[in-house]
């Protein structure tokens, strides 16, 4: 991590509106795909990917991580990664990993 590296200014209002549009569309897709029987085998990964995409869009654009100091990205993405790893490990160790629908 370098010490001082502010990046450029935040996104424009137009960018925010586009991101909101994509978020709306992906949410509609999420709700839609659960009713499509043919997608059942890939439903869980599909939903997780779409949720991850929405998560990333909000963090990168609305929370400005794409434009802010890289230190802030490290400060958030580092703990987020460890938290996800711990959550997966916790589910595995309690014998419940990927038991959706049990």
């Amino acid at each position: 991590m370098t010490d001082r590296e502010p990046r450029d200014a935040h996104a424009s209002v137009a960018t925010y509106l586009k991101v909101a549009l994509v978020l709306t569309a992906v949410t509609a897709l999420e709700v839609g795909v659960i009713y499509i029987r043919q997608l059942t085998p890939i439903l869980v990964p599909l939903l997780l990917v779409m949720a991850a995409a929405k998560f990333a869009l909000v963090v990168l654009f609305f929370m400005h991580l794409r434009y802010d100091s890289r230190a802030l990205s490290i400060l958030f993405v580092g703990p987020l990664t460890i938290a996800v790893g711990l959550a997966v490990a916790l589910m595995t160790l309690t014998g419940a990993f990927l038991v959706f629908g049990r």
Binding site: M1, D3, R4, E5, P6, H10, V13, Y16, L17, V19, A20, L23, T24, T27, E30, V31, I34, L43, V44, L47, L48, M50, A51, K54, F55, V58, V59, F61, F62, M63, D68, S69, A71, L72, L75, F76, G78, P79, L80, I82, A83, V84, L86, A87, V88, L90, M91, T92, L93, T94, A96, V99, F100, G101, R102
Partner: protein
Amino acid sequence: MSTKPASAFLRPPTARAGPAAPATIIISWLTTTDHKRIGILYGVTAFVFFLVGGLEALVIRLQLARPGATVVSAETYNALFTMHGTTMVFLAVMPLNAAFFNYMVPLMIGARDVAFPRLNALSYWIFLVGGLFLNASFLVGAPPDAGWFGYANLTSIQFSPGLSIDFWVLSLQVLGVSSMIAGVNFIATILNMRAPGMTLMRMPLFVWMTLVVQFLIVLAFPPVTVGLIFLMFDRFFGTHFYDVAAGGDLHLWQHLFWIFGHPEVYILILPAFGVVSEVVPTFARKPLFGAPVVIYSGVLIGFFGFGVWSHHMFATGMGAVADAAFSIGTMLIAIPTGVKIFNWLATLWGGAIRTTTALHFAVGLIAQFTIGGLSGVMHASPPVDLQQTDSYFVVAHLHYVLIGGSLFGLFAAFYYWWPKMTGRYLGERLGRWNFWVMVVGFNLAFFPQHYLGAMGMPRRIYTYGPEPGWGFWNLASTIGAFTLGVGVLIFVVNALRSLRSGAPAPGDAWDGRTLEWRTSSPPPPHDFDTVPPVYGRDSFWREKRGRVPPTAPAPAPAEPHGVHLPAPSAWPVVIALGIGVAATGALAHPALLAVGALATVYGIFAFALEHHGNPAHAVQVGDLGVDHRKLGMWAFLGSECFFFGTLIATYLAYKGRSVTGPTPHEILNIPVTSVSTFDLLMSSLLMVLALAAAQRGDRAQCRLWLGGTALFGTIFLGFQAYEFTSFVHEGLTLTTNLFGSTFFVLTGFHGGHVTIGVVWLLTLLYLDLRGRLDVTDAVKVEIAGLYWHFVDIVWIVIFTVVYLIP
């Protein structure tokens, strides 16, 4: 550099900006925001708790001194070892470390204070309230008695009725709040408030270890907080998190506790490693050997610390794969630890050593911690661990780490930094007595416990018969414990003598290497008359010897209105008292709980608005080019990832385990929740538009979008209220089954976060409507926005894993 008498640091500082100095000394201490005074408050309070925890230990050792002793009853013994462990971890060693973080870190990085001085005071007062609340359990005859680890279901209402576990649960949560606040504060301070020229790799080792520890605190506390919340809900509201009959899993508590508990070991020991890394080079008169490697080792220890928790659970039967993974992780963590030990030895090698008491304690740590570390490596092997689990061998191991390591490190710090804090030296002759009596006492107390463990003596038994032949080593251990106590008393005598008539210490008391020695002893309220330049690692030592590079770092920006110091504030005390009253009310009477909650909320508002509009607080941009408040919020959000990650993981782990209905697919209303999800996503859009308007000074637009965001948030809460109400009508409550418990707690805590966000936004809107929110306050809108967007992304995950995934 001037020297001052010891009594000087007891006087209220007078060179303050802001409101007039408080009238009395007591009020000045109650309202202080000076990092040095808060450090002293932490130190004195924690030392008193340390003596209390030590007395508890001595009674334990008296009871075990001979077979069949009846000094205390079995019940009292249980309470003593529970309170001893809890006190030493949370009320003694952690806050003693915090005393040095507070006093020394700003001085070592060339800062005038911490990033959030009032939050610093708040974390101290909450700590004090938490400590007093825990020990108040003695006064009502209900001290906690289920061990410092509080294993479920020993802590359930069925097996621990009464108030004892309630005291433990509530006080640990209060103490956790204190630690979290301090953690965020020191992350922002260290990353953002370093003197010009002090790059990260030039920071003193103690500061580095402090930084690692703060990350461990803000990331490791949330999982145990969630575990405690589950326990509290089980006990207070009848949920089923640790109810096996309802499908709950007792191992969940152990996982959540040790996900915190093992990093906690590093939270306790890494500051001591930092102290040794300062003391050894100073008294060897050599730079620390391989300083970057020591830094990387500390960071690696912190990182690996999150991947080894289940080695505390080998005996629970996790299976070969889990055992192997955690065994390998535990053995790996020994590598960076060993690296540090070799680096300290290499620093001593060939040095012009001054054998001060501080160095004695540092070397004592190296030797004794190594013994504790080696027995730790033995535990890393599951077959060996199975033989040692719950035996006195483990008691010996953990005390070699926490006394031989952490406590000896703290005593090294006492002797090293006492002259800086008081302007007087501690006596070296008494210091040697202090050291050698402690070394003899400690090793006599705890080395025999290795034998006792190997001979099969279980831990936590209150008495034993003569047959196993444990009497001799137990008597030796008890004599050792009392000898250790005498060693601590010698320190107390030495400290009192020093305060009264100790030899005056100059600013640079030890021919030091780091910036704290560049100011007077004790330092002035503003720490440094001018912000010191930093020329490299061991900057002050280089400066004294003329080893200054031709290109000096850019000077610190001029302070146009003179030195600005944080003004005193009474609100931290008010908030802490409110929390204390609320916690008491939770056990005594709902009315008292309501009074405490109201006082806390009122105090928080007053605290938040105390300096609103003060131009001196408008810009707080630091080293990273980021506002302190924004940096602090991001650190907090990292911690929140752990909080919600744990809640969500628990929901998924328990999914499908309810033994009764209703089940999720029978009750969840996806169309309605889809609308509320859309509503919350759009609130994020409005929030970011409000920020854009605030940044360009368009107050009308800012008001519009802030109001819109709050409205959308309120609509989301309305949806949630509708959903909860309909579920209750359909027969699903917190207590119906495991699904009800996990669902309501997860979504309820998210709803609580949304509620806080709405109140925050309405407060900003109110300020704007009153004309008190201008373009310089855009950062406040930005920070509220970060929180709001985080609540939004948490819901994105909850919506998927709770509602959409079948």
